[in-house]
């Protein structure tokens, strides 16, 4: 596990209280009375089987989805009153590779950077820095359609970093990529954590969560079953690794929904 050297602020980075969400087509709510607090500078991992509500929580917390009920505060701000301010502070890395295939890597970064309100030298610097992080400087002017999936994933990640966010939401950012690209993404996430960025991320890779996260929460049926630093969670139960603990909590039955 890695350590964050920054001083924690007293205001939590993310606070969700009594969240309720039911989709129109669903028989029962995805979330009922869901509560979550993520401290500033934490690397928080949301783990859970399919249908546990991970993506729904991430979408609600990042302002993409409205809850039916409940309160959300990001660094003390609410979406109702400070949507634009929150959007300038956060970064989102969706599960899909959300980039324009027919644009080059640089054009994608410039486009999204401008929408984030960047311009002039600041935009230039951020684009350069993001290309370096993703190790795509040499391919910057090539169309994304010619990229491998690893290159696309790296670009997908750095677009979320363009505005230098203080809170970063990541939905399975390393799914389906080569080892080298995954390693590079891990290194970058660790660097962000060390620099004080709050990270909230979902994954199905237990060893990745164990390696990266300062805190994890295991979810099922829209409820938090267990929460704490991975080391502490493993201490008490005598489990060898996070996967063993996870299977004990959520069962071995296949979840297809």
């Amino acid at each position: 596990m890695i350590c964050n050297t920054s001083i924690e602020s007293s205001t939590p980075a993310i606070q969700a209280a009594r969240l309720v969400k039911r989709y129109r087509s669903a028989v029962r709510p995805v979330l009922t009375d869901f509560n979550l607090t993520v401290g500033a500078g934490e690397f928080f991992g949301l783990l859970g089987p399919n249908g546990a509500g991970k993506t729904t929580i991430l979408s609600i917390l990042s302002g993409l989805l409205l809850p039916d009920n409940g309160i959300i505060r990001l660094q003390g701000l609410t979406y109702g009153e400070n949507r634009r301010e929150i959007q300038r502070k956060i970064g989102i890395v969706p599960q899909e590779i959300a980039v324009y295939d027919r644009l080059t890597a640089r054009e994608n970064l410039i486009f999204f950077g401008r929408l984030m309100g960047l311009g002039g030298m600041r935009l230039k610097e951020r684009v350069k820095s993001c290309l370096q992080i993703a190790q795509l400087e040499e391919k910057a002017n090539q169309r994304v359609s010619s990229f491998s999936s690893g290159m696309k994933r790296r670009l997908n990640l750095v677009i979320g970093l363009l505005n230098d966010p203080s809170i970063l939401f990541l939905d399975e950012p390393t799914v389906g990529i080569d080892t080298q690209s995954r390693h590079l993404i891990h290194q970058e996430l660790k660097r962000l954590y060390r620099n004080g960025t709050t990270l909230l991320y979902t994954t199905h890779y237990m060893e990745e969560a164990q390696e990266l996260c300062s805190t994890i929460a295991v979810l099922d049926d829209g409820r938090v079953l267990l929460e704490g630093p991975p080391g502490k969670l493993l201490e008490g139960g005598g489990h060898l690794n996070l996967e063993e603990l996870f299977l004990e909590l959520t069962g071995k039955q296949i979840r297809d929904d």
Partner: protein
Amino acid sequence: MRKILTATVKEFQLLVRDRAGLLVLFLMPAILVIVITLVQENVLELSGQRQTEILMLDRDQGVFTASLCSYLQQAQVNVRKYGSNQEAEFRRLIADGKYQAGLIVPAGTSARLRQGMEALLSGGKGKSTRKVSAVESLQMFFDPAAMAGFRAGLLVRLQMAAKAAEMEMMAGQLEKILAEQLGRIQLRVDPAHIADSGLKKAFSHTFTRVVEQTSPSGGPSIEDIMNPVNQNVPAWALFGIFFTAVPIAGTILSERRSGIITRLLGMPVSPLQLLAGKVVAYLAVCLCQFLLIALIGIYLFPHLGLPAFILPRHPIVLLPIVVAAGLAACGFGTFLGTVCRTYEQASTLGSTLVVIAAALGGVMVPVYAMPHLMQKISLFSPLSWGIDAFLDLLVRGKSFSAIVYDLARLLVFSAVMVVFSWRRFAR
């Protein structure tokens, strides 16, 4: 073979499970065939073979006009008489395209015809002093947007009806003269006497002619504006412009599929700004489309033996129509992109709806040639608003103020579509 079969089965499974797509695939062609058939049902009217209604300013009020109306009725031309002192309103109704044709019968036509006939039949020996060769002119006005086939067909029917009315009058006159002469000669008919009476000459003489007048509003000459190019260029340009709806819908659907919309909605930008970006870009495409088609009409058509597309004196007046039509098309594209779930749905639904709107709007068959029900439905087609505006400026020679209502309708349509899409886009 087995692999082809496997692939075929898979495609059927995919098709059957895309219910909305299937609905579009079957419902749209069904609607298309109904609409196009109905639209073309009255296409024979273009060649003057179907029921038509014309306006008549009857200043004559005599037997000739009464007879003319009756023969016109038999030739499937309904005559709607208009007050003889309302020529300005009569001209306006035709210039505005409310009626495609109008006829003015001058005052005293019946009386002069009777005198001329008397003079002819009596071989100049009668009491009439009228010159035998005088021809009465019936003035015919056409909506400048009426097609050439329609004009020619209607003119033929009018000339035939006028000739029949003349013959009826002539028969009356002849009966009168014969009765007088037979009475005088006490039933001793001398064929040479009849031949001398000028009967042959009388029946071969034409007393009336239908004269086609220039534009009822006094605009450019019919020869200049009455070419199919001036009607087809704007009509088909509009058709092309509305087809940009499909690629716009495609970009929205591809952004949704790839998760880009998720990313965009998390950024400090309003969905309306994102939609506006698309509308502006595709509006530029629409302007280029119109420019290209207009240039083809102006420079290429004459080389192909076709008349050239004639621009109005100030071509810039066409710009607001192209912009308004482009905005309407882009708005429709954003609507499709937010309502449909797949590109296949959007492309099928989009293209079919554009073809239907074009058919209803008068791109393929003029609106006045459609059955009455279809004419009423055509009022709801944005293409009809665009075409109306183009015809008013290019063919009817009207001023800019005449197209303001059509422009407003296109802009309101665009706004409604974009606002609806905005609400759905943000979900």
